[in-house]
Structures are given as structure tokens and as C-alpha cells.
């Protein structure tokens, strides 16, 4: 009988130096999976895992060959329900560095679709993709940003909705400011200006993120023309005072001040149409959403556990299927043999065929159902053995 086995390593057990040696791009991972027969290779920056229909010996050897060293201490090897549960948790983002991140589901899909993995892996991966989708739609685990920069973009979306076409002023050349600008741009915003004390630095940053380089003297002009200001200078004094900000009656102006000391005068928050978040506010928002993520993660774990139980039930039902098939074949054989001995007209034979078939089906229905039910529990194998013994089916195993 086929066996689901997982052999792999991840950020939980393996250092980055090892992970980068076994990390494979999609094509190479698919080629490796194909070389192992019925297998799927899931390789990301955080994990390389081989799911195989077999005992996993060849998969383990393949991983060691990639790593170029013995991997006994860092590789996990899981079987059947444990392997399925692990895959479901991975697909749901529950095993990720940032719980609930959504990218992994696409990576699982790509790894699965790159190969033809055979019926067992086909079933378990389809179930994993469905679980991942359910977790994302039925829980809010993926809705919360996990970093200051993504929180800044999510907050801007709380003001403007769709950020497409919103204009951003990036003030300063701080790394987190650039990340926040990138998060805004990823949501469709346009980096319109990059302002810095030295225009040469502004030009460098603008080269990376886009936008028109400006000196700080041109700030007032830029402020009248943007929707979002991301500030991360290293200036010891506020760079933007309330008096610098033009009146906003028609559309809001959203300030993200990531600098310490702060760049934006706190009085700006009192202006009509202006919203100001500093680094402490952003960190508080992230902490709050992470707490929410943990609560949602508990719900997601329950969903995943239910699916793993379904997988176990399916696998267990496969144990009794041969016994059920043998029992039905034996019964049909007896029925056919006894009918062959009877001399009757064609019409009467048809009637007898129909009646005896119905009797057989009714007799075997309940034992079939009971065996499938028992298969999920610890007595499943005993039931199957008892049926084989009682009906003399041992030779047909």
C-alpha cells in the first residue's frame, strides 16, 4: 500500500546557511521531484520539503546530496496523518515565519502543479490547497500587517481606500521609510517626490523608488500636491511644522513619521483633514494586529486539525476497501454459480437475477457501512480481518 512521507527542513530547525544550500527554484525542484517518482518538492527561502509516496529513503538521500553534509539532526521525517497535517499547516501559513502570510499558498500550488505526483499526493495536495483557501477566507489571519512598513500602507488604505494614483512624498533617506514607500507603491500609490537635505541623496533614493528629487526648501510646494507623506530623516528637529502644511478641506493628507527624533510636529495631527502616525503609533498598531493574528491562528489550527482528521478517515477507509471488494466479489461469484444451476425461462432468469442481486446488496450494505465506519477507529483492521476470516477471503488478499 502507498504511504505518504514528508522529508524536509525549515527555518524552525535549519540555519539559513543550510537552507540556502538546499533551496531550489521551481524548475529544479520539479525535476528533483520527478526523479523521485511520485513526489512533490516544495522549496522556498524558509523550507525545502519533499513529499513522497513511499518510505522517503530516496528523498532523504537527495536532500543530503543537496546539502553536501549529513542531515540527521535537522531533517524531519513525518508519515501519513502527521505529514498531511504538516502540509495543511504550511499551506495555511501557520508554519510560516509570519503566521498567516499568504505567499506560501501560491508556492504550494506551484510546486504541486509543476509535477504529476500520483493519486495519493494529488489528493493530499488538493486538500491542502483547499484548506489554505478556507483558512484565508474563514479567518482573518491574513488581513493584518506584520511590519511597520506594511502597517503604514494599510493605514493609508483606511483613509483613502484604493491607493491607486495616490501621490506620495518620501522625506529623508531612511531604510524603513523606503520600505514604507515600497509598501504604498505595491498598493498602487505613486512615489511623486523624494525630498532630502542634500539633493544628491534625494536623487539616489529617487533612482531606486521613483519620483522627483527635491531639496527641503521645496517641501511646501510638494505638500500641496501629495496625499501621503512618509518621513524618515535623521534631523534632530522637526522638519515639518504645522504652519508648513497647507489647508486640506477637500482631501485628506496622511503623515507617516518613522523618524526618531520625530520629523513631523505633533500639532499637525490637530489640523483638519490631516492624520499623523509616528513610529510608536505604528508599532502599537502592529502589536495589536499580531495579537489578533494569534487569536485567528487558534481558529485556523482547528480548521487544519479537522482536515487532517478527514485525511486520516479517508486513508483508514482505504484499509478496508480490499476486504469489502473481496466480500462482494465472493458473494457475486456464489450468486452467479447458483443461478447457473437453475433451469428457467429467460424471463424468469431476468427476474431471478434482479431479485438475488437486490438480496445481496441489502445483505452486504450494512456490513459495508459498518466496516467503513470502523476503519476510522483503532478496530478497523480487526474488522477487515474478521470479515476475511469469516467468509474465507484470506487467499484473495
Amino acid at each position: 500500500m502507498s504511504e505518504l512521507t514528508l522529508v524536509g527542513l525549515s527555518h524552525h530547525v535549519a540555519p539559513v546557511e543550510l537552507r540556502e544550500r538546499v533551496a531550489l527554484d521551481l524548475d529544479v525542484a520539479a525535476a528533483l521531484a520527478r526523479s523521485l517518482g511520485a513526489a512533490v518538492c516544495l522549496s522556498t527561502c524558509n523550507r525545502t520539503e519533499l513529499y513522497v509516496d513511499g518510505d522517503g529513503t530516496a528523498a532523504f538521500a537527495a536532500l543530503e546530496e543537496l546539502a553536501g553534509e549529513p542531515l540527521g539532526g535537522v531533517v524531519y521525517r513525518l508519515h501519513e496523518e502527521a505529514a498531511a497535517l504538516h502540509l495543511f499547516r504550511v499551506a495555511a501559513g501557520l508554519d510560516s515565519l509570519v503566521p498567516g502570510e499568504g505567499e506560501i499558498l501560491g508556492q504550494v500550488r506551484n510546486a504541486f502543479e509543476a509535477v504529476e505526483p500520483g493519486p495519493l499526493l494529488d489528493r493530499v495536495f488538493r486538500q491542502a490547497l483547499a484548506v489554505g483557501k478556507r483558512v484565508r477566507t474563514e479567518t482573518a489571519i491574513g488581513e493584518s500587517p506584520a511590519s511597520v512598513s506594511s502597517a503604514a500602507a494599510a493605514l493609508a488604505a483606511q483613509v483613502f481606500g484604493d491607493l491607486s494614483g495616490r501621490r506620495v512624498l518620501l522625506l529623508g533617506a531612511g531604510r524603513i521609510g523606503e520600505l514604507a514607500a515600497a509598501s504604498l507603491a505595491a498598493r498602487g500609490a505613486e512615489i511623486a517626490y523624494v525630498a532630502n537635505r542634500t539633493v544628491a541623496t534625494a536623487r539616489d533614493v529617487a533612482g531606486r523608488v521613483g519620483g522627483e528629487p527635491l531639496s527641503l526648501e521645496d517641501l511646501s510646494r510638494a505638500l500641496a500636491d501629495v496625499d501621503v507623506v512618509v518621513s524618515s530623516t535623521s534631523a534632530p528637529e522637526p522638519v515639518l511644522r504645522a504652519s508648513d502644511v497647507p489647508q486640506r478641506h477637500r482631501s485628506p493628507l496622511f503623515f507617516i513619521d518613522i523618524a526618531v527624533p520625530r520629523d513631523v510636529d505633533p500639532q499637525v495631527a490637530r489640523l483638519e483633514g490631516c492624520f499623523l502616525y509616528d513610529i510608536d503609533d505604528l508599532e502599537a498598531v502592529v502589536a495589536e494586529t499580531l495579537a489578533g493574528r494569534r487569536a485567528e491562528a487558534a481558529r485556523a489550527e482547528q480548521l487544519v486539525a479537522d482536515e487532517a482528521a478527514r485525511f486520516r478517515a479517508w486513508r483508514a477507509s482505504l484499509d478496508v476497501v480490499p476486504a469489502i471488494a473481496s466480500l462482494r466479489a465472493r458473494a457475486e461469484e456464489i450468486r452467479s454459480a447458483e443461478l447457473a444451476k437453475v433451469r428457467v425461462s429467460d424471463d424468469e432468469r431476468r427476474t431471478l437475477e434482479s431479485v438475488t442481486a437486490q438480496i445481496l446488496n441489502k445483505l452486504l450494505h450494512l456490513p459495508t457501512v459498518r466496516m467503513k465506519e470502523a476503519a476510522v477507529g483503532p478496530d478497523g483492521a480487526m474488522y477487515a480481518d474478521a470479515v476475511r476470516h469469516l467468509f474465507g477471503l484470506e487467499d484473495e488478499r
Partner: protein, 253 residues
């Protein structure tokens, strides 16, 4: 028959009012709104079929029709799990008003109408539809002010308890008022034609309705943004409440 349709409609609205309280049940709530509204539509159809003329002439009847307009407007603009909190603002109000409509006898079938005149039917229909729109606009304005306050105060849970974006709320509120004001205008014109036909006198309710028209007219013409627009929508809605609750008795008798 009308009796049999009232309860499913109330059940749908009641279920939605409760289910909008939690994120995980908000999808169920939207189904409650849809099914409840269908049941109420059937109830109105039965009332229309069994009544000679306009069946929502009483205070309770007009409230019944008003609830149908409010929920209908909500179905058009905001009946999405994402607008859960708008549903939480609108559906309990709709369910409560629906119960009031029943207490006022507005959900019975077979009563004889006093409204045979076409202008009067148009007047009531347009005015109630407009008021439903203003009710929804007020709910959007209230959500706007709440969201704006949370953003100003930098509430840490702002991404956990998500409201629709500020500008989305403002845009929907402006569109709702923009759609409802022409209806109120038509309703008022129909009412004045009827008034001239019968030579009746101008009462307090009509004066306040005219003031309501002026407030929302100002909102459409001056196009205030942000908090000002929200306050104006709520001020207009305060007048709608006066018209619907405080002065309705005199006008309907």
C-alpha cells in the same frame, strides 16, 4: 398571508442585526438581509393586491414602506461583509421600525385606502424613498465620524476592527444624498400639487420637510467634504426624524 410574511421578514432582519455583530457571521447576516427583504417585498405585494388604492396610507403603513426602502437602499450600496458595521448600524434600526410598523397596524392586509389620488401616492412613495436614502446617508456619516475620530486618535485597534475607508464612506454618503434629494423634490412637488388641488393648509410637517430639503440641497450644492459633510448629513437626518416621528401624527390624520 400578510401575517405569514411579516415573521420571516422580521426573522431575516433580526438575524442580520445580530449576525453583523461578528466578523465570522457577517456573511450569514447579508443573507438575512436579502431573504428578509424578499419576504417584506412579498408582504408589500400582498398588501397592494388586497387593498383598493394605496395600502400604506397610515402611519404604520408608511413606516412599513419606509423600512422596505431603507433595506433596499442598503442592499444596493452596502450589503457586503466588508460593510459589516454599516449593517450593524442600519439593520437593528430597520428591525425595530418594522416592529413599530406592525404595532401601528402597517403590516396588515386588506385595509381600505384613503389615498386614491395619484399625486398623493407619488408624494408618499417619493418622500419615503428619499427618507430611506437619507437614513442610509446618516448611517454612513456616523461611521465616517467614528472612523475619522479613530484615525485622529491613532487607535491601536484600527486595523483589527476595520471600517470602510474614510473616502469610501464620504463618496457613498454623497452619492446617496445625490440620489435621494431628487426623490424628495419630486415627492414635495407631488405633495404641493395635491395641496393646491384640495386647497389645504401648510402644516408644520411640511415646513420641516422643506427645511430638510434645504439642508440636503445645501449639501449637494456646496459639496462640503470630510467632517462638515458628515455633520450636514446628520443635521438633515435629525429633521427626517422630526418629520417621521414627532410630526407624523398630525400629517397622517
Amino acid at each position: 398571508m400578510a401575517e405569514a410574511l411579516f415573521w420571516p421578514a422580521l426573522l431575516g432582519y433580526g438575524e442580520a442585526a445580530l449576525a453583523y455583530a461578528w466578523v465570522r457571521t457577517s456573511r450569514l447576516a447579508t443573507w438575512g438581509v436579502r431573504l428578509g427583504w424578499l419576504a417584506q417585498t412579498a408582504l408589500l405585494a400582498v398588501q397592494a393586491a388586497r387593498t383598493d388604492g394605496f395600502p400604506w396610507s397610515s402611519w404604520g403603513g408608511s413606516l412599513n414602506l419606509f423600512v422596505w426602502f431603507v433595506v433596499g437602499a442598503y442592499l444596493i450600496w452596502g450589503c457586503r461583509p466588508r460593510f459589516r458595521l454599516l449593517g450593524l448600524a442600519v439593520m437593528p434600526l430597520a428591525a425595530a421600525l418594522f416592529v413599530l410598523a406592525r404595532i401601528g397596524g402597517g403590516t396588515d392586509a386588506g385595509s381600505r385606502s384613503r389615498y386614491g389620488n395619484l399625486f398623493l401616492v407619488l408624494h408618499v412613495g417619493f418622500v419615503l424613498a428619499a427618507f430611506a436614502g437619507f437614513t442610509l446617508a446618516a448611517a454612513l456619516a456616523a461611521l465616517y465620524l467614528w472612523q475619522e475620530r479613530r484615525l485622529k486618535r491613532r487607535a491601536a485597534d484600527i486595523l483589527r476592527l476595520r471600517l470602510p475607508p474614510l473616502q469610501t464612506l464620504e463618496r457613498l454618503q454623497r452619492r446617496t444624498i445625490g440620489a435621494a434629494l431628487p426623490l424628495l423634490t419630486l415627492g414635495l412637488v407631488a405633495g404641493f400639487v395635491r395641496l393646491r388641488e384640495r386647497g389645504g393648509s401648510f402644516d408644520a410637517l411640511e415646513a420641516v420637510t422643506l427645511a430638510t430639503w434645504l439642508v440636503y440641497g445645501a449639501a449637494v450644492v456646496a459639496r462640503p467634504a470630510g467632517r462638515r459633510a458628515a455633520y450636514l448629513a446628520l443635521a438633515g437626518f435629525a429633521l427626517v426624524i422630526v418629520v417621521r416621528v414627532a410630526l407624523a401624527g398630525s400629517h397622517f390624520t
